[in-house]
Symmetry: C2
Subunit: 153 residues, 2 copies
């Protein structure tokens, strides 16, 4: 998996958080380690597929980070992860995948999106079951970290 | 979403657990309540999509249930949820989706599968973000419960 495929997901995430939540997300160095797992308190995950390719995107947030992002998006304070936060994570996941789909489509990679799912639970981990590489990038925001995992076969 | 679409997922789960893990899984009554969430300790989730349709399948296990199922599948004892258990859940999820895809294909519903992801974390919940209905079915095994959620748009 090359940067041409991964970058649209990272660019899309930065765009979504910037335009929807006025939040700057600074990416760390992408890692390819198979053993590393994204860990956090709420995760949005969405699949993609076509006859030729398949993949998955997960965005995992620390509680502090998503509470701040949701407050920015919805204009009200949130003190804990509830159904509103879960909805926000589903929307962000959908928008990031939609943005990446558009960018990749311009490069000739066509696929369809599945339905996003949101997982809530203190310090859960997520692992993508693929024979191909999984790219993990951590992003820093003023309120805490979030993690993006992309895999593509 | 009608029984014609949901049943293949349920039939496929019963088949996979029976043939791969010699485990009988007895389904409870399917529920359509939007507020209900599958809750457990390890979840496999996989998306599906085509130009016409999209969806998601999640299988959530209580720890006791998956430890017993994995022991039956791999012929060794497991005392906690580790990477081997996570791999087993990924495989089961892939196989259940593959079986459902085959059954649905025979009825004229064609789609492609995404890459499965596995979430590990005590008592996490999973919610599918769809405007359509989400069917939740709980299954009973000798060692504990598991939950199947299917949505399809």
């Amino acid at each position: 998996m090359n940067a041409e495929i991964v970058n649209p997901f990272l660019v899309s995430l930065v765009n979504v958080l910037s335009t929807m939540a006025k939040t700057e997300a600074k990416p760390g160095k992408p890692t390819l380690k198979q053993g590393e797992k994204a860990q956090g308190d709420v995760t949005g995950v969405i699949g993609l597929s076509s006859a030729k390719t398949k993949g998955s995107l997960a965005i995992t947030f620390k509680e502090s980070a998503i509470l701040q992002i949701a407050s920015q998006m919805l204009g009200e304070e949130f003190g804990k992860i509830d159904d509103s936060i879960s909805d926000v994570v589903g929307e962000i996941t959908n928008m990031v995948m939609g943005g990446a789909k558009k960018l990749l489509s311009e490069k000739g990679y066509k696929f369809d999106m599945a339905i996003p799912s949101v997982i809530v639970g203190k310090d859960h981990t997520i692992t993508h079951k693929t024979k191909g590489p999984v790219v993990l990038v951590s992003f820093e925001t003023v309120a805490g970290n979030l993690f993006v995992e992309v895999c593509f076969e």
